[in-house]
């Protein structure tokens, strides 16, 4: 569910939705969401002073309250792999 929320928001925000990757790791009380986007889109989801990313985390936290879980969003910056 958290994964779907993040996927929807992030894919709507970026220019390259096909390159959005979201992974959900579920524990008993904690859920970790790992998110990666291509470099060109990083700024779009972080926003000025990190405000957009903060807002995304707030909504995720709200969804967590509803489901009685603590949800953590981690932005994964993949090292560029050379072809």
């Amino acid at each position: 569910m958290f994964k779907e929320l993040i996927e929807y928001i992030v894919k709507s925000l970026v220019d390259y939705p096909d390159d959005v990757v979201v992974r959900e790791v579920t524990g008993e009380k904690v859920v970790i969401i790992e998110l990666s986007v291509i470099d060109e889109d990083l700024g779009k989801i972080i926003g000025r002073y990190g405000r957009t990313l903060k807002a995304i985390r707030t909504l995720l936290y709200t969804a967590g309250l509803k489901a009685n879980k603590k949800v953590i969003l981690e932005l994964i910056e993949e090292p560029r792999t050379e072809a």
Binding site: I9, S12, A63
Partner: protein, 207 residues
């Protein structure tokens, strides 16, 4: 939902032109990724065409109401979204069974929702239009309680001649305090601190 196509042609420009014709759109409404630059082989051997992928930008017909509803559903909250135009701006009101959850501490969740929604709907728009998000008349109640607070604290400052520093607030909330005391010539207001810790100071003007 496939919203992109891949096209091969002799040059990158040609491939883009074909893609735009296929998608019946213009250059401004697509993102182009060049997958292959063309390479010339010897005679026709080993020559590779140019390949591009054209992706349609976010569907412009996606309405703010729909986006907000989609987010709500994924948060796990059922309800509906009412819309209203006030002074030319779109105001969205969420009618759900969990208003407190959607408001958050001092409207934090409401503000987050508003920000994300505005980022999404204004992503590809040239003329940005702000959309306001509210539930259960929270915005108005918050404004009223801030105005009341401003007047109470101003009275205390007048009485004690001691400046009072309010707790940290969002820019929107600080603005309400400043405006509430604008016409009061016994006190003045200013803000201090940075970022999330910025606070309004109500200072005595009467010396």
């Amino acid at each position: 939902m496939q919203n992109y196509i891949e096209v091969e042609a002799e040059t990158v420009e040609e491939a883009i032109d074909i893609a735009l014709t296929e998608l019946e759109t213009t250059r401004e409404d697509v993102n182009i990724i060049i997958i292959n630059e063309p390479t010339k082989g010897i005679l026709s051997f080993g020559a590779k065409p140019a390949k591009v992928r054209a992706t349609l930008k976010e569907d412009i017909t996606t309405s703010p109401e729909t986006v907000l509803k989609e987010i709500l559903t994924r948060i796990g909250i059922d309800g509906k979204v009412e819309s209203d135009f006030i002074e030319g701006s779109l105001h969205l009101n969420m009618v759900t069974d969990s208003p407190a959850l959607l408001i958050g501490k001092h409207g934090q969740t409401l503000d987050a929702m508003e920000r994300i929604l505005n980022c999404i709907i204004n992503k590809s728009a040239l003329a940005k239009k702000k959309v306001f998000v509210d539930t259960e008349g929270y915005r108005e109640r918050r404004e009223q309680s801030l105005v009341d607070l401003a007047h109470q604290v101003a009275a205390k400052v007048r009485r004690t001649r001691q400046d009072v520093i309010l707790s940290p607030m969002s820019a929107k909330d600080r603005r309400i305090i400043h405006l509430a005391l604008q016409g009061d010539d016994t006190v003045s207001t200013f803000s201090q601190g940075e970022g999330d810790m910025r606070r309004v100071v109500i200072a005595s003007d009467d010396y």
